[in-house]
Symmetry: C2
Subunit: 332 residues, 2 copies
């Protein structure tokens, strides 16, 4: 029902299970192609995550649904103690493999929920297969509703005449909020940073905002300070990859300097978060250092000469002092 009132962006729910296959939107091919990758098992799931075929919320969806794939792959071995323990073991191994796919996203926090359900089923002697499957499905349905609610909150935050800067991509929600604003006759302009090295802003954000009918302009990451100094931005809205108990959060590299600049210019800085108290402060978040190849080449062609080295932290951490307001969704 909610999808009738809010037009949905492909990035809002980029992985869907159909029978024995999880179809994962290949975000690296956007905007040229809207193509879905077949994922049939944990190995293939880890692969799409590691190659950043999916990212942010997509990673979460892939992780959750990979358990459904594996439960399906194991086949119905019955409901006795033996088959149940074998399934628990399978779930634990799946969790472990997913946890080791990339460092910054809190995979272990997500997979531990599923492992807990599996253990509960065994303790309570209920059908582990049915219980875990229903739990995951119900959990995802709940998150879907709360994310749609958040889209409305973001739309409510946007006022007529706003000029909003965003960085990287917030998995459909901002674009859908932009769509809602248009429905509500609110004019807003969006500036999307290109978000080097991966160009998520150029490829995903500009594409989906435009697809949703929003007025969007792409700028270099280098232009943020200049736009702010020229009073062309009056709000910043970004997503987050990981939150801490104290309100600090990690997001795509570049978010931190945007937050510092926003503070310098007195521009409100909003972040969409998934609250978590597993990590105390931003200093405790492990920041993924990605392969510098992604910095040194583009479309498989070298940008630099032979032996130049690169340093590519994938994320940075924004301390809570720089946040005007966190728009939270509780995924736990």
């Amino acid at each position: 029902m909610e999808t009738k009132t809010i037009k949905e962006s492909p990035l809002f729910w980029p992985a869907r299970l159909k029978g024995p296959v999880l179809w994962v939107l290949d975000e690296t091919l956007i905007p040229q192609k809207l193509k879905y990758i077949k994922v049939r098992n944990t190995k293939e799931a880890v692969d799409v995550i590691r190659k950043m075929k999916t990212r942010a919320f997509g990673q979460f969806l892939v992780v959750m649904q990979t358990f459904l794939l594996e439960i399906n792959n194991v086949g119905n071995g019955g409901t006795g103690r033996g088959p149940s323990l074998r399934l628990l073991n399978k779930i634990q191994k799946t969790a472990e493999a997913l946890n080791n796919s990339r460092p910054t996203f809190p995979f272990a926090e997500v997979t531990s929920i599923v492992v807990r359900w599996a253990r509960q089923a065994i303790e309570k002697k209920i059908d582990i297969r049915v219980f875990v499957t229903k739990s995951i499905e119900g959990y995802l349905a709940g998150i879907r509703v709360r994310r749609l609610e958040r889209v409305r909150k973001i739309a409510a935050l946007i006022k007529n005449g706003d000029s909003i800067l965003t960085h990287c991509n917030v998995s459909g929600e901002l674009a859908m909020a932009a769509y809602l604003c248009r429905q509500q006759n609110k004019q807003a302009h969006f500036f999307a940073t290109e978000t080097r090295p991966y160009f998520q802003g150029s490829k995903l954000t500009a594409w989906e905002l435009q697809r949703m009918g929003a007025d969007v302009t792409l700028v270099a990451d280098n232009a943020v300070g200049s736009l702010m100094a020229d009073k062309l931005i009056n709000k910043v809205i970004v997503g987050s990859d990981r939150s801490c108990a104290n309100g600090d959060f990690a997001n795509k590299i570049g978010t931190y300097q945007i937050a510092v600049l926003a503070k310098e210019f007195g521009i409100p800085f909003y972040v969409l978060t998934q609250p978590s108290d597993k990590v105390k402060t931003g200093r405790d978040i492990p920041v993924e250092i990605r392969n510098p190849r992604e910095l040194l080449t583009y479309l498989k062609r070298k940008v630099v000469s032979g032996v130049v080295s690169g340093f590519y932290p994938g994320f940075d951490v924004v301390p809570h002092e720089l946040i005007t307001k966190a728009i939270a969704i509780d995924v736990h």
Copy 2:
């Protein structure tokens, strides 16, 4: 003689006149190729400037030497009043064409010097051809000496153990200073931003620093705040495209936000300038808005989908309050 003691980077003096041809280093092909473009007249000079085949100091060299080309092209028509006035007219037309090539670099300030020499020759009834030629040659020789002096000043600024951030490219001087530091047994590390949209950092700065034996790491423009927060930078050294009477300067887009971040972290911010009092403050500098195609495509392939618009100011302005010290060279 000075080139014996300081190894020279091709970017330090990227345009050289040989007979009737000005050979201009094609900076867009670096680091893949070290190729020089033939420039034989004003039209071709404007073309290499507009296409950013050359930039920064290279533009200045091309401008100055284009007058030598045109004086040569006119041929020796004698030294009487008629031929002298025709040559003055040619020089004025050359100046006008060059002034209109790109907005932010102060072409008119440079070309007006040559026009003044031409007028002086006519007033004093001396050979305009000889006087203007000798004046340009002497002027460039003087600048060469002062730039080499500045290379030594930059090297003196760099201390053992420094970790220096630079943005865009400073036409050889920083790389040559890095070379001098090595000669003086000073260890310094350089971080070069890639400098989107044109990748001058990836293509030029990383390449020439490495060529000069410096220890250089390439980072995304987005990583500056994060590097500073992690105390990985203790000095910033950048160039400038245009200076104002009050000390403000314009440089490649992104310089301004680096200056704001440096101030936030208490990191000294140094700029190499060509002082000028032609423009009062940074607000009076016309900032070139370049074709957004340069933002929307890379290696002729689109990064974004069909109709996304882009905004690409080529430069931004750093107010003098953010500058720790300007290392000046007077080119007038």
